[in-house]
Amino acid sequence: MKTSVVLLFTILLFSGCGDEPKKNPPQKSESDKIKNWARPGVQGQMSGAYFVYKNPLSSADTLISVYSPQAMMTQIHESYTTEDGLAGMREKKEIVVHSDETLVLKQGGLHVMLMNLKKDLSENDSVEVALEFTKAGTVKLKLPVKNNK
């Protein structure tokens, strides 16, 4: 009797109520499908853009700046979690890309931060971005503006 009580209690305890809060599990984003894109935006406001770049050189290269004629200011940013658990972003001044390595900018991680847009960005527009690498020099990309990704 005593054993069965203990056993039942244990089962009940572990079966639980099924409403445990779920927090931040890793997620493979659907937006991985389209890798080069920019977010719509309003003139004077911000937008973000994403791309992938594979270093074709036989040695490491470093991304040192980014420029877009469509924003007053452009930077590479990284979204991260602060020590006390807040979401934030910070500028990445340099990113080293090893030979054959692919640099991936995607939602929730690295992004091109387009600040103070000169014009609205809507679907069917595209954003021109010039990446400056120490070895490969200037790499120009055209990123289509996509909505509701």
Partner: protein, 194 residues
């Protein structure tokens, strides 16, 4: 023997009463009342005006082009999963009222092609900080950037959160806002909504 039987009944009782109350109430906002403004400049009382509906709330600021749109998009995906139901209201509330005026929020909403059951709310700074305190959303200016036109822009560190209120304005679910799989939110809503 008798006492063992009694303790068994006790345990069963505790187990079933603790499970039949539905989801745990995390915060009761029913006694709170915040005068806020939506993206159309209309006065809204939060959460009072949404009582009788489930409310899915994301916390955002519009100068955040990476994490915050993920929060907004998660709300949109939930809304789509339920086929834009009338009994679920979707809200994005800004913790940056200084810059996120109703007009800015209207433009922001416009970027996502959203319907009437999706509102963005702002208020004066005092009201917003009281509101954020009551739902335990923290935010602080992280760094300031001087733009090429000499204007200053600032960025914020902030809680990344989505929460669900029941029809009585009680917070019953909370999630990480940007990275939570949408089906977690959908499944939770389904269990309380049936």
């Amino acid at each position: 023997m008798k006492s063992q039987f009694l303790s068994f009944i006790c345990i069963l009782f505790i187990f079933f009463t603790s499970c039949n109350t539905g989801p745990k109430v995390i915060d009761d906002l029913s006694d709170k009342s915040f005068n806020v403004i939506n993206q159309n400049g209309e006065s809204v009382t939060f959460p009072d005006d949404y009582q009788g509906k489930y409310v899915v709330v994301g916390f955002i600021y519009t100068n955040c082009p990476d994490i915050c749109p993920l929060v907004t998009q998660n709300l949109i995906k939930v809304q789509k999963e339920f086929n834009s139901p009338d009994d679920i209201q979707f809200l994005g509330i800004t913790f940056d009222p200084k810059r996120d005026t109703p007009e800015v929020l209207k433009n922001y909403k416009g970027l996502f092609n959203l319907d009437d059951n999706f509102d963005f709310l702002t208020a004066d700074s005092t009201t917003i900080s009281e509101l954020m305190d009551s739902v335990r959303v923290r935010s602080q200016v992280s760094f300031t950037q001087v733009r090429e036109d000499d204007k200053e822009v600032y960025f914020m560190n902030h809680s990344d959160k989505i929460m669900v209120l029941d029809k009585k304005s009680r917070v019953i679910f909370e999630y990480g806002g940007s990275m939570t799989p949408v089906n977690y939110i959908v499944e939770d809503l389904k269990t309380v909504r049936k």
